[in-house]
Symmetry: C2
Subunit: 252 residues, 2 copies
């Protein structure tokens, strides 16, 4: 496990910076998390899959808001026009047909109640705190750091492929329709990651800014990791579910 | 386990509101958390006690900042003069002799390096996210909600008494000097809680504001609970410690 805290000391070439960013993903992206491994082995209970859907909804729901915060910090119309596509992807034409709606479909296909999922009241408090930290980061940090924090999308096509393949093969109640959320995501993520990476490589033009970009990606990996840690802790033993959070019997 | 989401429907008398707030604490304060029970049973390893000190430092360190945010939102000089004592208690006369300094002393007495603890780099990412959520809450919510979120101090004399008694009795490397942080805390907490409770009972003067006050206290209980959940998850099995966080060998 590398310590990336001094990775840009003295300054890096663009290709060196890209290599460090990719190494952050190799070491810290949540495809290495035990929860993902249990998911791909087919070892999760239906309750755990439902809890994952309920909690991950909070993350999906904040994505267009953090992207709007990035738009609000961006002075370049071309940048904004490109970044705006992310909001369109998640909200859809009418707010009811984008990625968030498809995540709700995933949740209801697992037997969950749409209104309960949307209210977020069954999510773990830890999930809400972690997701809030991501929005605060994009609110309070520089545009470069907010853009760099999105670079986890460089690694998402891999995890999506592993997740979808395994979920269809290992869980008989999960169908291609359940997982329709993921169908356009790999392509969207690759497009978005390419744009964001190009931006970071150009604008991280001092050792200090390169370190900020690296730290932002480490931060974002910590966000995704902490969400799965909270899930594992709460749902590995029944006694660990915190007050008010989703229980198997609470929404069907 | 009560659902407090509609507790103030129709409005409550002051004594009814106080009773609901006390019931939130009885049901959700972290003296009910398994980590606290293991602490008072003498069942925590030295590593777990150290990790608790390292992570709890992040919470201590943000307290005067959230109190300054409350000052910044308060228009009444008398309120500010009373609330200011909290900042003085934590920072001390010179920034080096208050509650934060005493918490650092607790950590170094457990064999930890002061600079490493102060840097917060060994804390769990989840702890940083949770503590950040508390600061954001006091930044973005009303003064009433921020004040109500401090009402966990109504319950802290009890947990401090249980903690100090058990730590001195059950852990031979912990002395009264180690725990000097707690000596003035019960009295300070009672003074502060009485003031905050009186403020809330006066200013929560509609059903909507009463519900906001109740929700704020539930939120704060979730904050304290989530910090202990993260500790338990990370340190119950060696493989769960996230990248970069405190390990037994990392600081001595």
């Amino acid at each position: 496990m590398s310590d990336f805290s001094g990775a840009a000391r003295g300054g890096l070439s663009k290709s060196e910076l890209e290599a460090v960013l990719r190494r952050v993903g190799e070491e810290r992206y949540h495809n290495r998390h035990p929860f993902h491994h249990r998911m791909t082995r087919g070892a999760l209970s239906r309750t755990e899959i439902q809890a994952w859907a309920v909690n991950r909804y909070c993350y999906q729901a904040v994505i267009p808001r953090k992207d709007a915060m990035i738009l609000a910090h961006a002075e370049d119309p071309e940048f904004r026009a490109a970044w705006r596509k992310r909001i369109e992807d998640h909200d859809g034409e009418d707010g009811l047909s984008g990625g968030i709606a498809r995540w709700l479909h995933l949740a209801t296909s697992l037997g969950l109640n749409a209104e309960a999922v949307k209210s977020e009241r069954l999510a773990l408090p830890a999930t809400r705190f972690v997701v809030g930290a991501y929005l605060s980061f994009c609110t309070n940090r520089t545009l470069l750091e907010a853009v760099a924090s999105s670079l986890t999308e460089m690694f998402s096509p891999l995890i999506i492929h592993e997740r979808v393949t395994a979920m269809l093969a290992k869980y008989d109640y999960i169908t291609e329709d359940t997982l329709a959320y993921f169908t356009p995501r790999s392509q969207q993520a690759s497009r978005d990651a390419n744009f964001a990476l190009a931006y970071v490589l150009v604008h991280a033009d001092t050792a200090e800014r390169q370190q900020q970009a690296i730290d932002a990606l480490v931060f974002k990996c910590d966000i995704l990791w902490a969400m799965l840690d909270a899930l594992v802790h709460a749902y590995s033993e029944p006694g660990n579910i915190p007050p008010g959070a989703f229980r198997p019997e609470s929404v069907q």
